[in-house]
Symmetry: C2
Subunit: 218 residues, 2 copies
DNA sequence: GCGGTGCTGGCAGCTTGTTGCCGACGTTGG
DNA sequence: CCAACGTCGGCAACAAGCTGCCAGCACCGC
């Protein structure tokens, strides 16, 4: 990654880590928009980066925006809570579609690309106008987003039954049979399904299946 | 992995490779049942293993059973064709639910477990009765399965439109709007959807979404 | 005890999805 | 040219899914 380049393509998590470690160590402002914890898994895997974040807690403003589906996975929800507690991160939830992005000090933007051959590619952008554009988009999303506490209480409830509902949905079981299996009325079962779809931000059951699989919920 | 153990748990693809390389080098019969190419990606990543398989072509009987959804991905379909051509593998398609399995000479069975923290665990079984049980299950599936050629011609057609249909489905677009977008009548669009669901072995759209995502089709 | 609140589940109306039927049309082979 | 075949698309019947409505019930606070 050369200093003169405005956009650099980075392949794979390891390379991204290697090339951005210094940013995590020096930035005073880190902002992240993610559909799942996947992108931030990079920073969790690297133990030294986690320790670094804790160490720098008072020196860096960390903001993260997730989609509500993230909170459906108990493990991910705990990860979110831990991030807030240990890193002093401010966390909000949005129902808008997100492109996965990390911003450092309004100077560097990392945009996630597609997964190819099991490796995800990232664009590392330093070109000022582009970074500014991405930043303003993030700020707009941030302003419209809701504090995680508002969502978490509600989703914590949905989470209780979600694994069983998702399991039955994933097996292709019809609503009536699924409701019977869970000992619910079909109206209530459908309420639970509708809540899940809302949390997943899905408008159809196919889309919900895709999202649920993406988030590792099924 | 000790000789005396009847079942050994192996974590991650690399470890599986390291511990089973000798099996690929010595076995005269290899049988694999897989939901996707994922499990066999292990052997593709290792170049020396690929070369080994080519070298041993006349010395080892290779049989693989996949689910039809695998053929929906052009890349995977080409991988299947290449395996057949280069390794002389016999390949069949089944619509039954499969547990991902590799068998070596009716003596060793490898069963795939769940993915944990991004690493998949495998059970490596050498206990004779268990291996025999797994082998007989594989043989039953093999007997009932259909030669890949029978499926491939049909699925090759479905594959042409599949990316666009899957994309619209994944966006939650309703059938009528999706049909219009593709310039089809809604009856035809629904035929295409039904074919896809058949190929994916899904009974509901949620399940289809999960499967499609699993196979990397969306 | 009583009123307020929230959840459940049955019912019903509506939308969306599933699939058979059939006429129309294009293609192919004799 | 004609017959056979396969696909498309409109129509319709039916099933599955979506959601509002409301009575019944449990719980809670005064």
């Amino acid at each position: 990654m050369q200093t003169g380049e405005a956009v650099t393509i980075v392949h794979g998590d390891e390379e991204l880590l290697a090339r951005t470690r210094h940013l995590f160590a020096t930035a005073t402002e880190i902002a992240c928009a993610a559909n799942s914890l996947g992108m931030w898994a990079v920073t969790h895997v690297a133990d030294d980066l986690d320790a670094l974040a804790r160490e720098r807690r008072g020196q860096v403003r960390v903001r993260k925006v997730f989609r509500p589906g993230v909170l459906l996975d108990p493990v991910a929800a705990r990860g979110v809570a831990r991030t807030r507690e240990h890193h002093g991160a401010q966390i909000r939830i949005t129902t808008d579609e997100l492109n996965e992005t990390i911003l450092f000090d309004r100077r560097v933007a990392i945009l996630a690309g597609d997964v190819r051959a099991g490796r995800r590619s990232y664009s590392v952008v330093t070109q000022p106008e582009t970074v500014q554009g991405v930043t303003s988009l993030f700020e707009a999303v941030w302003r419209a987003a809701t504090d995680v506490d508002v969502y978490d209480a509600r989703i914590a409830e949905i989470r209780l039954l979600a694994p069983r509902v998702l399991d039955l949905l994933g097996q292709g079981v019809k609503d009536e049979a699924a409701a019977r299996t869970l000992g619910l009325g079909v109206r209530t079962y459908r309420r639970r399904v509708a809540e899940l779809m809302d949390a997943l931000g899905a408008e159809s059951r196919f889309q919900a299946g895709v999202r649920a699989r993406e988030l590792g919920l099924v």
